[in-house]
């Protein structure tokens, strides 16, 4: 039996997360196929077939799949589910939206945010905002899972998979109205090797400019705590935490972030954590490799100067 991985893309580029989920699939074993569902996504297919260890790339290129509508994508997945023992997607907003729907239609449970493969039916996943790790054995015939991509290393790009077109078209009553995406030149938050995050103490949206400069200088991405997002300093898709993005970069710099449980859940697997905070009691210092007790408005400009 084979494993199906759902490719994560924006119709133009394949996200690095997909290569990480393929790595998780390879840890389970068996043949790995990739599904690219989208609209005018031939560039994504070209990138997908190069991923190491992928046997086939299944392509569903149709307008109904262009916006990632869960009903359409879910029905497409159910239509090919009989060929697969495992179905994996990134624990992204798309994977989280579609996979539980697919699982219910197949009458199986779903395992969310897998961080480790123990065997082909047993997986590790965090619970309680990462305060505990549960090892879960699935008793279902088909294992439907979402994978925390930050827990796996991406596979290489020296493959040459066969491309197969799928002709099933599934359209639901859900109507796409509009989409507004945050434009940014910086690397994707989930894929960046450096993340610079700001919290409530940044004080205003304008003050985030110094963090943007720091992020740019380090070639990193910008992140934020919930407080900074709720205050309107930055858009919500920059939120790092239990209910935002989960990141594990080489370097995470937390500026003016106290370090609530919910924020730590999203970044405590970073390799090196730096905290800059003027409160010496802030919980963030308990997980930081390097802590600096200082006013961020003094420290960040100086940091910019020195690196």
């Amino acid at each position: 039996m084979a494993i199906l991985v759902i490719a994560e893309h924006d119709n133009a580029t394949l996200k690095l997360d997909t290569a990480k989920v393929v790595a998780c699939a390879q840890a389970i074993g068996a043949d790995v196929d990739l599904l690219v569902a989208g609209e005018d996504c031939s560039a994504v297919v070209d990138a997908a077939k190069q991923l190491t260890g992928v046997r086939k790339v299944l392509v569903a290129d149709n307008a109904v799949y262009g916006n990632g509508i869960a009903e359409n994508l879910g029905d497409l997945l159910v239509s090919i589910a009989a060929d697969y023992q495992h179905m994996l997607a990134t624990a992204s907003s798309l994977g989280k939206d579609v996979m539980p729907r697919v699982a219910a239609l197949l009458d199986v449970a779903q395992i969310s945010e897998v961080v480790e493969v123990v065997s082909e039916d047993t997986f590790v996943r965090p619970i309680y905002a990462g305060s505990a790790l549960a090892t879960v054995q699935s008793l279902d015939a088909v294992k439907v899972m979402t994978v925390r991509s930050s827990a796996f290393d991406a596979v290489a790009n020296d493959g040459n998979a066969e491309v197969v077109s799928l002709d099933g078209v599934f359209n639901s009553a859900v109507e796409f109205v509009s989409q507004t995406l945050t434009k940014s030149e910086r690397p994707d938050l989930g894929a960046a090797s450096v993340v610079v995050s700001g919290g409530r103490a940044m004080g205003s949206a304008d003050n985030f400019a110094i963090l943007e400069q720091l992020a740019d200088k380090l070639g990193g991405a910008l992140g934020a705590s919930r407080a900074a997002v709720d205050a309107g300093y930055v858009p919500n898709d920059l939120q790092v935490g239990q209910t935002g993005k989960i990141v594990a970069p080489d370097l995470y710099i937390a500026v003016g972030i106290s370090g609530a449980i919910q924020h730590l859940a999203g970044m405590k697997d970073s390799k090196v954590i730096v905290a800059i905070n003027k409160d010496p009691e802030a919980p963030i210092f308990q997980v930081a490799d390097y802590g600096l007790e200082a006013d961020l408005f003094d420290a960040v400009p100086k940091l910019l100067e020195l690196i």
């Binding site: 798309l94 505990a132 790790l133 008793l139 009553a173 507004t180 370097l251």
Partner: protein, 249 residues
Amino acid sequence: MKVLVPVKRVVDANVKVRVNADNTNVDTANLKMAINPFCEIAVEEAVRLKEAGVVSEIVVVTIGPKAAQEQLRTAMALGADRGIHVETDDEFASLSIAKMLNAIQNQEQAQLILLGKQSIDGDNNQTGQMLAALGNMPQATFASEVTVEGDSVIVTREIDGGLQTLKMPMPAVITTDLRLNEPRYAKLPNIMKAKRKPLDTVTVESLGVTLKQHQNIVKVAPPAQRQAGVMVASVEELVEKLKNEAKVI
């Protein structure tokens, strides 16, 4: 129209939980419990729709131990009209929860079902989507804005990279994100009034659904602890350490 709001009793968001001694679960005995924060946002949204004249009745439902009635009373103090308690001490996979909720929806025939996007204990983020699938209803997950327009509902969703707006026919399932609204506090007179609102207690068996065991929890372990780091005295020292010790810049 009627709105159904499933809510869950969970350990309070500010409490740090620990794994129990025999590594079978987290130790929740004697911890402060509360209504799951995302469920609270779902209740608030339902109440606002009622205040706007769109909704006529709000039914809250919970599946859990006897003590979970506290959370139903909380939801009723916030403005829900009546409660349904499926009383059980067992823990179920999200799919089984969704099947039970689907049975309740079949009885209630609500036009909208509002749930939190995830519970902060299991962190599964599944129940709403599964309920939508079982009831053959459209779904809008991670909602940050909900507008009812005739027989349709227009929902703005928080997706990776930005926001997306969808329009779907009702009945529909919506799961709430944090930015949908700011839940109100229950006032004392409303807490008193909530005690007299109707609350039906039913058994799992009475719902007439067939449930299976889908998963075994093999063990629950604490995550690896990070080594305590060092405090540096100046920005210069920080940069020096990042360059020469950690070698990350």
